[in-house]
């Protein structure tokens, strides 16, 4: 009971020391992992980005040359940027709109909500797997399911959407949009937070449902919209598996699905240009950090926080 006796003053040194040791003891695995697997590699990859380094030989210091080459002498980098930004700018808004629309529909107090919610969530859970990318490849191929359905319903003989460079990227955008479920769940949780008396007051004042949605639901939901947008954008920049499987790792046809991460993978693990790939990795980190910072700065103009 010695601890209880000392409770009115500072705990004795031995207890405080025990606390410190206990704290760091429990933190040790994370701390080791952080230093060895995150901090060390992050510093070292920045160093590598300033070198010419392959599988053989040692890293040769070349200063900013990799970055200069990325900016001025690498057409595939710019292709990858264009593909990735197109993907991000199309898939993120599509996902947000689907997720919000379905969440609002599900928030009407319908029976069977849990079943619908489960059905809409399922694609998010499995959509990143190779199997689904394989399936997508089939669905959008020349003799795939989509064309079968189009032909049966409208007599329209569609092309191979996957092997046509002007449509291949959009099939991947659709695959991403198909996975709106987890954002929808977050929206649902946000909708439940809106106090119902606000709607009651608005109805008494004669506000229509549409007006209530625009004046109450949307503004109160902006923190959740913001949060989803940031998370989805970061995830979209990092998309990899679907493009890899659909294009056999090439990013084709003619680089039309060359996602940034895919290009990075090719440089690092097919061409073994570790120095150059490290520079590409840091460019990606900076792009993601820039867009995250930009969203946070824009937040004060449109995100509604409780007073």
């Amino acid at each position: 009971m010695s601890i209880a006796d000392a409770s009115n003053s500072k705990p004795p040194l031995s207890v405080r020391l025990r606390g410190q040791l206990g704290g760091y003891g429990f933190l040790l695995p994370w701390l080791l992992g952080f230093v060895v697997l995150t901090l060390g590699p992050a510093v070292s990859s920045f160093y590598l980005s300033l070198t010419d380094f392959g599988l053989m030989g040692s890293a040769k210091w070349i200063g900013a040359e990799n970055y200069v080459r990325i900016a001025s002498d690498d057409p595939r980098f710019w292709t990858a940027m264009k593909v990735t930004f197109t993907f991000v700018l199309l898939s993120v808004p599509l996902k947000l709109v689907f997720a919000l629309a379905i969440a609002v529909a599900l928030n009407k107090g319908l029976r069977g909500l849990t079943i619908f919610r489960a059905i809409f969530y399922l694609p998010s859970l499995i959509g990143g797997s190779v199997a689904i990318a394989v399936l997508w490849r089939q669905v959008f191929s020349g003799d795939g399911v989509l064309n079968q359905v189009l032909s049966a319903l409208f007599g329209y003989e569609g092309p191979s959407w996957i092997s046509n460079p002007s449509t291949s990227l959009y099939t991947l955008v659709l695959l991403a949009a198909w996975q709106f479920g987890s954002s929808m769940i977050i929206f649902l949780a946000g909708l439940r937070q809106i106090p119902t008396d606000m709607y009651e007051a608005a109805s008494i004042d004669g506000a229509s449902r549409r007006r209530q949605f625009i004046k109450i639901t949307l503004p109160l939901l902006t923190p959740v919209i913001f949060f989803n947008a940031v998370i989805l954008t970061i995830d979209a920049f990092k998309a990899f598996t679907s493009a890899f499987v659909v294009s056999d790792g090439s990013g084709g046809p003619i680089d039309s699905t060359l996602f940034y991460t895919l290009y990075l993978y090719q440089e690092a693990f097919t061409n073994f240009r570790f120095g150059y790939a490290s520079a590409l990795a840091w460019v990606l980190v900076v792009i993601i950090a820039f867009f995250t910072a930009l969203s946070f700065m824009s937040a004060k103009y449109w995100v509604h926080y409780d007073d």
């Binding site: 994370w30 089939q138 359905v149 049966a152």
Partner: protein, 297 residues
């Protein structure tokens, strides 16, 4: 961190007061719409499963979801379609996924306990850094990690896929557990301290026994994400005997040169099946996990 934190009860409520004012017509319309969207969304999946039981010539002959002739032929062809059977690759995936679950549960719960319950210098600093790693893309550390594991002789073994998880590398799970541990009343710790319990005993006898929901959520998510992971195995595993089911499936795409869709869809169905079963069993846990942290798939 997010406005959606701690909503499990709100998530599970099955109706809202908002709902009573709709006319039956409008209700029916919403149902019809939701059912139509559900069907369109599920159609590719249903088609995949049904095609895997059809004979090869029937797959492209009809859009019907019910096989006219039911056969397991595609599964037989697929299972042994590569030089190593899919059974072997499923076991590889299972081993890796189980080890990752164990590693994440132990290391992340320890870190979360330190962050929420123990007083030590620098706690806030380390916590902020941990949150920072949540946002950081793995690409920044990918290449040096690879070179390090290459030096250790770990490339082409499961070590790079498993060992980091014992060092709480998945900050997402620390965050998830921190959220949960914060909700456990501190009076319980204080009572245990009165009884002379140290940090270790409080962790094992007070915190962990009360944390089964969050541990289960972390376990299921860890398993699913590891099972589904493609990038890390692609980089680290070279020999087909070491392949995971995902790598096997991707190799199978090449091997069949898209001439045996039946077998390909059969193996696709099989690789998704474990996730689907976990989804059916733990749907509520998964959905609550997403609603409380607002993260990831």
């Amino acid at each position: 961190m997010t406005d959606t934190a701690h909503l499990p009860s709100a998530v599970e409520a099955d109706s809202t007061p908002d709902g009573d004012k709709h006319s039956p017509m409008k209700r029916a319309l919403i149902y019809a719409l939701l059912t139509a969207v559900s069907f369109i969304m599920l159609y590719p999946l249903l088609w995949m499963v049904s095609s895997s039981f059809k004979p090869e010539n029937e797959i492209f002959a009809t859009t019907s979801l019910i096989p006219q002739e039911f056969t397991l032929d595609a599964y037989r062809r697929g299972w042994n379609g590569l030089s190593v059977s899919f059974g072997h690759m499923f076991l590889n995936s299972l081993l890796i996924s189980v080890l990752v679950v164990v590693g994440n549960l132990i290391s992340c719960s320890m870190a979360a306990y330190a962050f929420t319950r123990l007083q030590f210098k620098g706690r806030g600093f380390w916590f902020a850094l941990m949150l920072g790693t949540l946002m950081m893309p793995q690409h920044a550390v990918l290449i040096p990690q690879y070179l390090m594991f290459l030096k250790f002789g770990w490339v082409n073994t499961i070590m790079p896929l498993v060992v980091p998880k014992f060092f709480a590398i998945d900050a997402f799970f620390i965050f998830l557990m921190v959220q949960f541990f914060r909700g456990i009343p501190r009076e319980l710790d204080e009572a245990a301290i009165m009884d002379g319990a140290g940090p270790l005993r409080i962790f094992l006898k007070v915190i962990l026994p009360l944390s089964t929901p969050v541990m289960a959520t972390a376990a299921v998510f860890s398993f699913i994400w590891t099972w589904d992971d493609f990038f890390a195995p692609l980089i680290y595993l070279n020999d087909i005997e070491k392949y995971t089911a995902q790598l096997g499936l991707r190799t199978f795409v090449d091997a069949t040169a898209q001439s045996d869709w039946g077998a390909l869809l059969a193996m696709s169905t099989l690789t998704v099946l474990p996730i689907f079963i976990l989804f059916l069993l733990f749907q509520r846990l998964l959905i609550e996990g997403i609603a409380t942290t607002g993260m990831k798939r």
